[in-house]
């Protein structure tokens, strides 16, 4: 029986890899090799295509398996993640998407550098973008390793390591040979697969309970062993005040971090106008919102049908709740339906990871080539060399991510994702909002805002219980813990805003009024937009 799972799942994995490699070569055949083509796919995607691609970039395996698993284990407290991940898109829609599309060309640093002295700003924003991307990438690779090992039954270290290496190699191939065009189509395919899979399972759960949500919730509460407490907050984050503040910190980081994620921001450049960027976000909010609504049904469905204790017995973090639910809905262990559904869910989770890592790799290679390399190279080189640098950078980032992914194999995936969001919210969001909305913002303010958020975020994590001082931390033997919270957002995000403000008011040079006028006119009207 276990063998059937594995054969079918491996077959579907291979099919997905074959399709994505076909997309990559097919796109590569028609490529012209310009920066416009490599970074943003020629800017000619339609809003609906980009909306699906954004959704594909955003809905990671951590949310598909992780959130449903948390709901299956802790009930309502898992649902808080779904809400945070969705509400974050209002920040993107209202404050960021259109203005960023109008002001920049390829990366986040373009938007800030338009108003400031180019070199220091590009170096700072490029550094923080690469940091965020690598953290997020490592989280996804660690997730891929443990997930594939778990789903295929081979929990040996070798299987996990080879999965990490394989995922890293594939993402470098997609990005280097296919650029943004191939990456976007892979995201779209993945988003369609994920939505279809989630929808099918949701319908099966609802049919099982004859559409009666009340009986679904009651059964879930009953089988969780917690009774009515399962349907109210507090099971996971209810304890002492430290864990409550930790949750508030995570909630703030989730809602503010999305607008600072480089791979999300770069997606707005793949459409021709700001209006198309807005419509893509509207599409993606529709897709992401319905997806997270479905994860709630699936999470409570797993608690009701599989039972919380069985989910916990299979994987302590709850990551296998959805595969177990699929097995159950298909007719249980040993049935044909169960085997097929289980393999399909495993393949979808794998596709999800591959698509997300490709998107992040592309965004970080753009940051390296367009921001870091371009601000440090000698002027007068040809543009062609920038794309070559970006391709090489993709391979380099792939190598770094594989290395860190192998080292960090035992870290909690959800924690790494939360950390990436916290760093994005602390280092990228303040500088972005200030340069879009603050007339007096200066170069020094921009540089301080980036480092003033980035450094505290990273340092606070290093002295947090995640790294040392508790039995579950990275180095349980030593204790240099100074900061009680696992997520630094509650402290480091205000510090980023504060540093930007202090840097600006202590600036020796006055703000450039003409450049501010130009930036504001361009942001709101689209005049001169790339």
């Amino acid at each position: 029986m276990k063998g059937d799972h594995q054969t079918l799942a491996l077959l579907l994995f291979s099919a997905f890899i074959a399709v994505t490699l076909f997309i990559t070569t097919w796109v590569g055949r028609n490529r012209q090799g310009s920066a416009e083509e490599f970074y943003v796919g020629g800017r000619l995607f339609s809003p609906i295509e980009n909306g699906f691609a954004i959704a594909g970039d955003y809905m990671s395996a951590a949310s598909f398996l992780g959130i449903s698993g948390l709901i299956a284990l802790f009930g309502y407290d898992g649902m808080l993640y779904s809400v945070g991940f969705l509400v974050a898109w209002l920040v993107v829609l209202l404050l960021v998407a259109e203005l960023v599309r109008n002001c920049g060309r390829f990366t986040l640093a373009d938007v800030v550098a338009a108003r400031m002295a180019e070199r220091p700003v590009r170096t700072a924003v490029g550094t923080s973008s690469v940091t965020v991307s690598v953290l997020y990438l490592v989280a996804q690779m660690v997730g891929a390793g443990s997930l594939v090992a778990l789903l295929l039954g081979g929990t040996s270290d070798a299987a996990r390591s080879w999965t990490v290496v394989g995922v890293g190699a594939l993402m470098v191939i997609y990005v280097s040979f296919g650029g943004m065009r191939a990456t976007t189509w892979i995201q779209i395919v993945k988003a369609v697969l994920l939505m279809a899979g989630a929808l099918a399972l949701t319908v099966l759960v609802l049919v099982h309970f004859h559409g009666n949500i009340n009986s679904l919730l009651n059964t879930a509460a009953e089988r969780s062993g917690h009774g009515k407490d399962f349907l109210a907050p507090g099971l996971r984050y209810g304890g002492d005040w430290t864990s409550r503040f930790d949750f508030i910190s995570l909630g703030v980081a989730l809602v503010l971090g999305t607008a600072g994620l480089p791979h999300i921001l770069s997606r707005f450049y793949t459409v021709p106008t700001a209006r198309a960027a807005r419509r893509s976000v509207v599409w993606s909010i529709g897709l992401i919102g319905s997806f997270y609504l479905m994860t709630i049904v699936l999470g409570f469905g797993a608690a009701a049908l599989v039972g919380s204790s069985e989910v916990r017995a299979s994987n302590a973090a709850g990551n296998t709740a959805i595969p177990l639910l699929a097995l159950d809905l298909g007719g249980g262990e040993g049935s044909t339906g169960g085997t097929i559904l289980f393999a399909v869910v495993a393949a979808i989770a794998f596709a999800t990871i591959l698509a997300v890592v490709a998107g992040i790799t592309l965004a970080s290679s753009a940051s390296v080539a367009h921001d870091l390399y371009a601000s440090l190279r000698r002027p007068g080189r040809k543009k062609r060399s920038e794309v070559a640098v970006a391709r090489t950078a993709a391979a380099g980032i792939g190598a770094v991510a594989i290395g860190l992914g192998l080292l960090a194999q035992d870290l909690n995936v959800a924690f790494l994702v939360g950390l990436a969001f916290a760093v994005a919210a602390s280092a990228n969001l303040p500088v972005l909002l200030y340069s879009l909305f603050w007339r007096n913002f200066t170069t020094r303010g921009a540089v301080w805002a980036v480092y003033g958020g980035l450094v505290p975020a990273v340092v606070l994590v290093l002295v947090s219980p995640v790294v040392s001082g508790s039995p579950t931390s990275l180095f349980p033997g030593v204790d240099f813990q100074l900061f009680p919270l696992e997520n630094p957002g509650l402290v480091s995000i205000p510090l980023g805003f504060l540093a930007g403000w202090i840097g600006t008011v202590t600036s020796p040079e006055p703000p450039d009024e003409a450049k501010h006028a130009e930036a504001e006119v361009r942001a709101l009207t689209g005049a001169g937009a790339a």
Partner: protein
């Protein structure tokens, strides 16, 4: 084509300024946006042409641009403040007032469920309202300003 398939545009196609966008470089739109072009007579004007920075400052000071900016900020500032406060209130209530959140409303559904689904609902509603506001109140004026500004800065090496 899919381009037309945005959920928010159905039924209001006539108000959609982007449907009649010709190729870039149309030349005779001066004055539609209310910005007085600095060099209306083009190459025939004597003396040095204004720099791009002057043109952007001029547009920035124009009433048409101020109106676009005012409409954007009037909608976005209160909306952003409202949804951030509503989300923060939700997170804080979930962590500090579990008793209140556990109060039953109907059957198995309690206050926490209603609040969580309320967050989904308000997000969808605000998305719809913002897209509608931008389409009906801002897009046309912003597009006119864009063409005017690009017309004025054309040939300045930008």
């Amino acid at each position: 084509m899919e381009k037309e398939a945005g959920p928010e545009t159905a039924g209001v196609r006539l108000d959609d300024p982007w449907d009649d966008v010709p190729a870039p470089g149309r030349g005779d739109q001066d004055g539609t946006g209310g910005v007085a072009p600095l060099d209306a007579s083009g190459a025939a004007a004597p003396g040095p042409r204004p720099s791009a920075a002057d043109i952007y400052l001029e547009v920035h000071r124009s009433d048409a641009f101020r109106e676009v900016r005012r409409r954007y900020r009037r909608f976005v500032a209160p909306a952003a403040l409202a949804f951030l406060l509503w989300y923060l209130a939700y997170v804080v209530a979930a962590t500090t007032a579990p008793a209140l959140m556990a109060r039953p409303v109907a059957g198995a559904v309690n206050v926490a469920m209603v609040a969580g689904l309320g967050q989904f609902l308000t997000t969808f509603l605000l998305t719809w309202a913002y897209a509608r506001h931008a389409r009906l109140r801002r897009d046309r004026a912003a597009l006119d300003l864009r063409w005017d500004t690009q017309e004025m800065t054309r040939g300045l090496g930008r």
